[in-house]
Amino acid sequence: MTDATSATAELREPLPPSEATGGHAGMGPVADVLLRSILPLVLALGTGAIILAAIGVDPIQYYKDIWSGGVEFAAWQDTAMRVAPLLLIAVGLIVAFKAGIWNLGMDGQFLLAAAVIAGIGPRLEHHLPNAINLIVLFLIAGAVGAVWTIPPALLKARYELNEIITTLMMSFIGINLAGILVKGTFQDPTTTTPQTRALDFSALLPSIPGTESASRRWPGIHIGLLVALAAAVVVWFLISRTSFGLRLGVLGASVRSARHMGLDVSRLIVVSFLLSGLFVGFAAATEILGVKGYVRADWNPAFGLWVVPLVFLARLNALAVIPYVVLLSLASIGGDFAAQNAGLTSKFTLLLVGLTLLFMALTEWIVRRVELGGSYLPGAAARRARGRE
């Protein structure tokens, strides 16, 4: 059993590549950002262009279409609104990944939180002022997301169980449970389509003042975007400027060091999990209360996995992830239009996301080799070699 325990302990450690290599030894910070955070994206877009050209689609036109489909007319507002859930999920992942915790259950946490508030929302309408309703629903969504991380959190904190499997399992259970809720308890009685009752338009999140314009056909951007931006700032501050953030970082870098320093590892694990689920729940709240207004049983946007590469590209920095999230929103809103124009499927965008991940791993490997002076020597030998430089 000791072997297995050490294996699961190690499993948490291979996390963020940046932490593993200790930042930018031997390279300027600018070069580091260029190589590790921007190059993978450029390479993925470049390879995407080659693939497009190879199949007879004009890549420049395709990327132009993504831009116009995601920005022109009122589309920029859709893109801006898509930022809200994606950014909140990203922030939630950062809190977990920083502590070396693979919360891969975000899709279940998201969908369950969405189903619960979509079901409860219409029942609260007209009883209380709208602002209070919205706040209550936001908190419920956050709580559902957080509660769904408790089993993996406790299993990891108490028995050192690898959370990759447990969060994945909880995710699928959550998706199934959300299905039961939508088709059963929360089913809209006025339709046979398996879906919840839709919230009144007036009960949705209000728009940011000035973004609505009837003459330009702008529907307005809901304030969920501001919530997401605020969350990013808060988490950035928490992680980079507080002792709590430092403790999370130590835990993420090495469980053994964290124990050695006398940190309450179990408590840190549980808190990091809860915060992660909380933000994922908030993400669901912005999408339901801001955009959708209801949940259909077959709805599963699977935002969670999309966000994983961005979080790594931003090197777990909650502010640095914002431009990536904007880019992904653009790609997901504009990608449909571009794919349609080119006679492709909108899933082509997935190919680009996958390529980004692979190029990230590739550049990471190259950067590491450059840092080690072109040497394959790992560990102690490499440190010795670096010391001599």
Binding site: D3, L15, L104, L155, L168, M169, L351, G354
Partner: protein, 320 residues
Amino acid sequence: MSQLLIASGAFSEAGLTALVSGAILVGVPLLFAGLGELVSERGGVLNIGLEGMMLTGAFFAVWGSDVTGSWQLGLAIAIVAGGLMALLHAFFSITLRADQIVGGTAINFIALGLTTYLLIKIYGDEGTPTDIQTIPNVHLGFLDGIPGIGSFFEDVFGRLNLMIWVAIALVVVTWIVVFKTPVGLRIRSVGEHPRAADTVGINVYAIRYGSVTLSGMLAAAGGAYLSLGFVGSFEDNMTAGRGFIALAALIFGNWRPFGAAAACLLFGFSSALAKALQEFSLSVSVLFEALPYVLTLVAVAGVIGRSIPPASVGRPYVKQ
């Protein structure tokens, strides 16, 4: 609960036949993929891209059969395609020592994007052709009309798809290879303690490359059964999370071939039951659908014995 079962006809002979057949139909693709994951994890590499590799196999089996006009070649093309996907995962997780979750997730994205793209590009909106040659069923004539036991055996086992028998044989073969042969010992040793294996002259990288590639080929065969063996066509994202259930089945089966096979059948049975119960009670039906995940969660939590993964799974090996 039991009333539900009776109401749904699960206990009648026809119901039982349907349930057992359903369990086999759902369980077999899981079995291929689960055995693949077993080989990969026993070799020390977590293959979370199983889902993508199954999907790749499912598409290329149908495409291959359509293009070549032969199901054997279709199956072979599927297996090669799955192997190539796995090779990509192997390159990233073994040679580049990238995080195995990142590599596997990338495979899943790429496979979904690629197969959907190819489906639309090649076949458009009509879907894959209906006249392709599919993997045949095997008719066991001697089961017909065995006196005294009715037609149960004949109905369930008499006309099973060839791939089902292959899967059953593979369980035994995997067990023999992994636990009774020198190759299996090497695979397990690089998964448990790669440094020790390296010291005694085992080529850790070669063994890991081999086991990951094999896992992709097996997953693709599972996908091929799903598309070319079972439904005879390919649909957008048709594996629908089965790769992850296979992963769960392996864990529930405690990283052992017979354990994984039993888990696959159990999960298949639970899914067949979910289908049978659908029109009687939606929530009970969904509960059975979620059962595999709940059981796996319970299993890893150590309620039913302890499940112990290979010691070095998920850790890249650095040669010194």
